[in-house]
């Protein structure tokens, strides 16, 4: 990019925001700052960019001297080999089943609870909410051992339900939705009840449609959490090829083909692509969700 173009861009900015004179005065400084920032962002993203390029190289070229992003050839073959060695399509399918069913349960259960915490009025509500919040401090690591015992007792080791149910009842979802629900005017609920609607009808016909954006936030976030889970599948899945997700598959693949770095990078691309696309497609929902939770501390 020539400095000429950049300057015209910078002046376009100040033209857009005529009120911000203070910023326009320091234009050269801003220009340097923008260029520097772009460099920092690129450097930050380098590991991901590097992964994508390495996935199409031969193994030798990854360690070429001097290093280069581009290999001599563009090896799609790497991906074919990864799929031949290890059932990554199966891992993706498994991940989808667990994440989708898990997300549906979490969103449904959380929405019901949030209606109780955010809309309905009852004695002890806020104290009970605090109790709920306190459970968020219990780390997953404390729960895995008793959860494993529970799964053993139920005969659920190496099953779908063991991957889904134990983590579908956390307080996070109820809390997140409650933060949105409390802003819905109670008069709306009263009016609906006056019209003879049952609580269920009020919930499903009035509140849920209003809450769609917040439900989307929770859904995206829950999906990604299930999709990326590692410790629990590592514990409860015996047969990786049957029930493993991409994290577990990648770890196994790495253990077996650790020296074929080009294939490992191709497998990594397969592992990171789904969530990468999801974030790019649904960035608004995600960003909003985190901002809401983060600012809820206020």
């Amino acid at each position: 990019m020539t400095s000429n173009q950049t300057t015209s861009r910078a002046s376009a900015v100040s033209a857009e925001r005529p009120g911000k004179n203070a910023k326009a005065r320091f234009r050269p400084f801003r220009l340097v700052s923008e260029v520097l920032m772009a460099g920092v962002v690129l450097l930050f993203l380098f590991p991901i960019v590097f992964t994508f390029f390495s996935a199409f190289k031969s193994n030798g070229e990854i360690f070429a001297q001097p290093p280069s992003l581009f290999g001599a050839e563009f090896r799609w073959q790497n991906f074919v080999e990864v799929f031949e060695y290890t059932p990554f399509l199966r891992f993706i399918f498994n991940g989808l089943v667990v994440s989708i069913i898990g997300t549906v349960i979490v969103v449904a259960v959380s929405a019901l609870a949030a209606y109780s915490f955010g809309i309905l009025r009852w004695r002890g509500r806020d104290k009970f909410m605090l109790l709920y919040l306190a459970t968020m401090m219990i780390p997953q690591e404390v729960l895995v051992i008793p959860m494993f015992l529970l799964m053993q007792k139920l005969g659920w080791i190496n099953t779908w339900q063991a991957l889904i149910l134990p983590w579908a009842f956390g307080a996070f979802g109820a809390f997140l939705l409650r933060q949105f629900f409390v802003n819905i005017p109670y008069e709306l609920v009263e009016a609906s009840r006056m019209d003879g609607c049952s609580q269920w009808r009020t919930f499903s016909r009035i509140i849920l449609p209003l809450a769609k954006p917040s439900l989307a936030v929770l859904a995206v976030w829950t999906f990604i959490t299930f999709w990326n889970s590692f410790l629990w599948p590592l514990i409860v899945v015996n047969d990786v090829n049957e029930l493993g997700n991409v994290s577990l598959g990648l770890q196994t693949f790495f253990g077996e083909h650790g020296s074929s770095w080009n294939l490992v990078m191709a497998a990594s691309v397969i592992a990171i692509l789904p969530t990468l696309l999801l974030v790019v497609a649904l960035q608004k929902h995600l960003v909003k969700g985190i901002a809401t939770v983060g600012l809820a501390g206020r």
Binding site: F50, P67, L112, W122, P139, I145, Q283
Partner: protein, 293 residues
């Protein structure tokens, strides 16, 4: 018309039941069970016998990995949390001045949603001897990069870099959102009063950000205490015990050693640690967190 104060107790009970039942079954009971398990000699297969405090005593017996794991975990936390906060706050302010700030926030966020196993595998290749870092140094300066992951004095720092990279975007997003919501009237007033850029930052903006800093530091600290996947894949705790974490200790004792009772003890200690630190944070917030009046 007299307005009757009506409560929705019965409906509340109904709407809350699925969540409350699930939470009792999968969180509350297991927590109690975890505490109980830690007092028993509880092999994965075989007879369960009462062990009293033996599991806790054994943690500090000779040959136990737990002391190293505990020290590592505390060190990880002490290094990661301040570095993360300072870097993310500074970057959030800087990025907010850019016209591409929305795009950059999403880009910084990408590692957060990358599966941690993939993150660890990618960085393992970056750190590899003759890998990209090493070969860049060689061709630019003719020097070799030390094998960071293979040396017990640098392995932890190498893992810290990965953890910082992975968690960066989350806190940055929180601070960016908070910066966007800084009250414009207060900022304008401070400018009229002649506060310079740095004074405004330190005296006005940072204090207004303290609720977000409180939230981010608590969450970052808790997740640093729970570190597992990254060191597990990057170093498997090595070399020696230099990157073993408490959670790794729990995992290895329980699911590689088959001693569930002995593994429950460090898990409970970790839980207690998290509770105490969160409590201190919570009580201490009055001293430094500014909430809107």
């Amino acid at each position: 018309m007299q307005r009757k104060k009506k409560t929705d107790s019965r409906a509340a009970l109904g709407f809350l039941t699925p969540s409350a039942v699930g939470m009792t079954l999968f969180i509350l009971l297991p927590t109690l069970l975890a505490i109980a398990t830690s007092f028993f000699n509880w092999p994965t297969y075989g007879d369960v016998t009462f062990a009293g405090l033996d599991n806790y005593k054994d943690l500090f017996a000779a040959g136990s990995q737990f002391p190293a794991a505990l020290i590592n975990t505390l060190l990880f936390t002490i290094i990661v949390v301040p570095l993360n906060l300072v870097l993310t706050i500074a970057t959030a302010f800087w990025v907010s001045t850019s016209r591409f700030s929305k795009l950059y926030r999403v880009l910084f966020f990408l590692p957060v949603v990358t599966p941690s196993v993939a993150t660890a595998v990618i960085w393992k290749l970056i750190y590899q001897p003759d890998g990209i870092l090493d070969s860049t140094l060689q061709s630019m300066f003719g020097i070799h990069m030390p094998n960071l992951l293979g040396d017990s004095s640098t392995a932890m720092l190498a893992v810290v870099v990965v953890i910082l990279w992975q968690g960066f975007g989350y806190n940055m997003l929180i601070f960016s959102a908070a910066i966007d919501q800084l009250p414009q009237d207060v900022l304008d007033a401070s400018m009229l009063d002649g506060a310079s850029g740095l004074t405004a930052l330190l005296k006005i903006k940072l204090p207004l950000l303290t609720p977000a800093i409180f939230f981010a530091s608590t969450v970052t600290m808790i997740s640093a205490f729970q570190m597992f996947s990254e060191p597990f894949v990057l170093t498997a705790g090595g070399p020696g015990t230099s990157t073993v974490t408490v959670v790794m200790n729990v995992y290895q004792t329980a699911f590689q050693g088959g001693e569930l009772g002995a593994a429950a003890a460090p898990a409970i200690i970790l839980f207690a640690l998290i509770l105490v630190v969160t409590m201190i944070q919570w009580l201490g917030q009055k001293k430094w967190v500014h909430y809107d009046q």
